[in-house]
């Protein structure tokens, strides 16, 4: 079955340090991959998406993600973390079978420590 996996339940990073939130995928064909962020008591917000082309995708709030086909990964990165980046992050992909369904990972909680 097609899926995305987020191997870390929580990531802690000091403010100002680079951050990485990991995502690996198991998707047939060309994967359309997304990152969403959820702040406390809020709905999910779109951060960025990979379609085709450049493997480094730039998104909102200074985030970027690197698509690596050989490692089937789509890790979310930011050069310098802010305390306000603390949130729950979800990786997702969209099925290419015509059902329009999205499959989400289980989420990774990012804590940026001052």
């Amino acid at each position: 079955a097609q899926s995305v996996a987020q191997p870390e339940d929580q990531v802690n990073v000091a403010e100002g340090n680079p951050l990485t939130v990991k995502c690996t995928y198991s998707v047939s064909g060309n994967p359309y991959l997304f990152w969403y962020v959820q702040y406390p008591n809020r709905g999910l917000q779109f951060l960025l998406k990979y379609i085709t082309g450049d493997n480094l995708v730039k998104g909102s709030y200074g985030f970027e993600a690197e698509f690596n086909k050989s490692q089937t990964s789509f890790h979310l990165k930011k050069p310098s973390a802010l305390v306000s980046d603390s949130a729950l992050y979800f990786c997702a992909f969209r099925e290419a079978s015509g059902t329009y369904k999205y499959i989400f990972g289980t989420g990774t909680r990012l804590k940026v420590l001052a």
Binding site: Y32, G43, L44, F46, R94, A96, F104, G105
Partner: protein
């Protein structure tokens, strides 16, 4: 622009009672979705609708029903609530795009439901 609104914000419901969670979008998106979010399980799709008049089952449809009478509204009904339906429910919408196209989903603020 309001985007997607959901009501109620939160609700405590007795087991066996019925309830309808409301979702309205003002973006004229054709596709709409209902997810539940549970700790450690992420978001799981309950039902979806690609366009008004059509609906489909997601990953966890049992105990839930939906209707899509028009483009803007996509209510989710629990006919007889059970404690395992305690969760946070999110409605989302998107342009359907072509099959597998990387269209973005937009989410509502969620409804926190507790079934006792």
């Amino acid at each position: 622009t309001a985007g997607i609104t959901q009501a109620p914000t939160s609700q405590i419901l007795a087991a066996g009672r019925s309830m309808t969670l409301r979702c309205t979008q003002d973006m004229r998106h054709n596709a709409m979705y209902w997810y539940r979010q549970d700790l450690g399980l992420g978001l799981r799709l309950i039902h979806y609708s690609n366009t008004a008049g059509t609906t489909g089952k997601g990953e966890v449809p049992d105990g839930y029903s939906v209707s899509r009478a028009n483009t803007d509204d996509f209510p989710l009904t629990l006919a007889s609530a059970v404690p395992s339906q305690t969760s946070v429910y999110f409605c989302a919408s998107s342009d359907p795009g072509l099959a597998g196209e990387a269209v973005t989903q937009y989410f509502g603020p969620g409804t926190r439901l507790t079934v006792l």
